[in-house]
């Protein structure tokens, strides 16, 4: 499983040997403040040298989970193992982890160099070694020229680098990151994704990374743990989450724009889309089911498939997102290039049966064993 997921993500191949072990393990971890349960019976493992992303909407408990690993919050129930050792009740410093905060948490009265070596000074590392490690860390994050500046004199991206250097210099095996890119502008955020990922591979550290941005998770993670209301919704590689979402929530959260979810009803010859019963899309009954199909998996044809009416088009440059009405429902279609539509144009939509996902409306979970029908030509 570990081998497979690593191979799919194409990362840290040197780590996926038989000696691979989990450096972090959460077993039934719960955190509650009075009646409010922020993290509810969460269990997962993080493999050595991997990049794991805790993903979810705000308030899903992802930051709290990270803080429980760091020891900044105490668990209500459950056990936290780090490096195979029970660390549930150990202090943050005993866990030997680094952390990058969303606000960077730089000490405003100390200059860049003092900020970076703060931890080494606390632990009374000899001055010579401290300087050497500072030099190396500053080179890695390209801050060597700014060591005497105060944080207030730095740009957002440079502050981010100081926070990274402070995490690197400790040479801990584990680094926790809490939405480290959310305060940067879009361009820089994109660049930093690649840099952080490259840095993680180069140093071979294990990273647990919190974000609400699914594209960040998809592009950076070896493994994504999708959280919702304090529980794990789905855990897997980015491909697994994209290709086989286990729940309606996962289907809707991963991908931009997100997966179309269409209500099905019973109809002659199989389940049809509500309001379009004559055209079966799924074998057997359809009542109580949802059909999921990603916008990029729908094609527009002049004939065959499902009749639809184009309502709107959003031109994005490389592609265009069309809004179409099918039966009584609307869905999004991604088409390459520019696609100008006059309102109300009739088209036909076609998709491959293997790209269809079927969910149970009542449970919100994936309905197994259902066969999508090929589209009539």
């Amino acid at each position: 499983m570990v081998l497979a997921s690593s191979a799919i993500a194409g990362s840290h191949l040197w780590n996926s040997g038989s000696d691979s072990m989990s450096v972090i393990e959460l077993v039934g971890v719960t955190k509650a403040w009075g009646d409010i349960v922020a993290v509810d019976d969460v269990s997962f493992t993080v493999e050595d040298g991997s990049f794991v992303v805790l993903l979810g909407p705000s308030g899903c408990g992802k930051s709290t989970t990270l803080r429980l690993i760091a020891g900044l919050e105490s668990v209500t129930a459950g056990t936290v193992y780090i490096g195979g050792e029970d660390m549930t009740h150990k202090s943050p410093s005993e866990r030997r982890i680094s952390m990058v905060f969303q606000s960077y948490a730089l000490f405003p009265h100390l200059n860049v160099a003092e900020n970076i070596v703060f931890g080494l000074k606390v632990r009374k590392t000899p001055a010579a070694e401290r300087d050497q490690r500072l030099k190396r860390a500053a080179e890695i994050v390209e801050l060597s020229d700014l060591l005497h500046r105060k944080p207030a004199q730095l740009s957002g991206g440079q502050r981010q680098r100081v926070a990274l250097a402070r995490a690197i210099i400790a040479e801990n095996a584990i680094c926790l990151m809490d939405e480290p890119l959310s305060n940067l502008d879009a361009k820089l955020r994109h660049d930093m994704r690649g840099e952080i990922r490259a840095l993680q591979r180069r140093l071979g550290v294990t990273v647990v990374y919190v974000t609400h941005d699914q594209s960040e998770a998809m592009s950076m993670a070896d493994r994504v743990i999708l959280l919702r209301d304090g529980r794990i919704e789905q855990a897997g590689t980015p491909d697994e989450l994209y290709d086989r979402p286990e729940t309606v929530f996962a289907a809707g959260f991963i991908g931009t724009p997100s997966m179309n979810l269409l209500d099905l009803t019973d109809g002659p010859g199989g389940a049809g889309i509500s309001g379009l019963e004559g055209k079966p899309v799924l074998d057997g009954p359809g009542e109580g089911l949802k059909l999921g199909i990603r916008p990029e998996h729908i094609e527009i044809r002049d004939f065959g498939g499902l009749p639809a009416e184009l309502v709107w088009s959003d031109y994005l440059g490389a592609d265009t997102i069309l809004t179409a009405r099918v039966g009584s429902q609307s869905l999004l279609v991604r088409v390459p290039g520019r696609f100008d539509v006059a309102r109300g144009v009739s088209v036909n939509l076609v998709w491959a049966p293997e790209n269809v996902h079927v969910f149970d409306t009542a449970t919100g979970r994936r309905a197994s064993g259902r066969q999508a029908l090929a589209m009539a030509a």
Binding site: A70, L72, S91, P92, S93, I97, S98, M99, F101, S103, A105, F107, P108, H109, F118, G119, V122, R123, K150, A152, R166, A170
Partner: protein, 294 residues
Amino acid sequence: MSRAGSTRVHLYGWLLLAPAAILLIAFTHYPTGATLVHSVFSEGTALRPSTFVGLENYGFMMGDEVFWRVVGNNFWFAVGTIPASIALALLMAVWVNGRLPARGLVRMAYFTPTILPMIAVANIWLFFYSPDIGLIDQVLRLFGASGHNWLGDPDTVLGCIIIMTIWKESGFFMIFYLAALQSLPPELEEAAKLEGAKRWYIFRRITFPLLMPTTLFVLINATINSFKLVDHLFILTKGGPDNASSLLLYYIYEVAFSFFEEAYAATLTAVLLAVLAVISIGQFAILDKRIHYR
């Protein structure tokens, strides 16, 4: 713009400025200037009008034993109250900033001395310090000590005033520290904790340096207050015994309104102003370089 229009704009400006300017000039700048002028003139009487005497009043002051006694008192009073009240304020602020049952109540309790009128406070402490029947003597009697006239003894009277002032001031300064502490992002402490820093180290290297702007503010206020104290003395000691508890402002009051030596009072006031100005400027100049303002 036309000349008439320009004049109108100027007029508006001056009219808007006028209320604040009139108040400031009437109650701050003119009295200050008048005091300085007064201090270089002799005391005028019905028979002998006031004449310019240059620095003669200052010369008299240099030879005034009571003045030096009062200056000495004020020095020890400042040394006794300022560091202690600031340290206590900081300690209390850090304490009530943490997780604490009935935190609001504790905070309020610390702030109470500030809300109470000075005269009422002095009366309460007058009871504490009363010989034999006072609270302190009653408690000490339990340990076998005999009564002591705390406020009547020149050796203890200044100490009594100092303790009361610390009690009064530290709650007030605590509010400033508490506000500053609450504006510090909690991640800073968390980041330091992750690095293995202990509480005292975090306080010394992170919290305290970031509180320096507040400390400077409090320090200047505390210094000015230590020269400004006068209300308690009316109730508790009237500067006695033998001027052992008289402070500069109280002495100025006595000279001006008990002895009616206005010129000399103006001279003392000029000195007080000079001392305060020098101390404030000095504190700014020395500490400003070491302070990080966000």
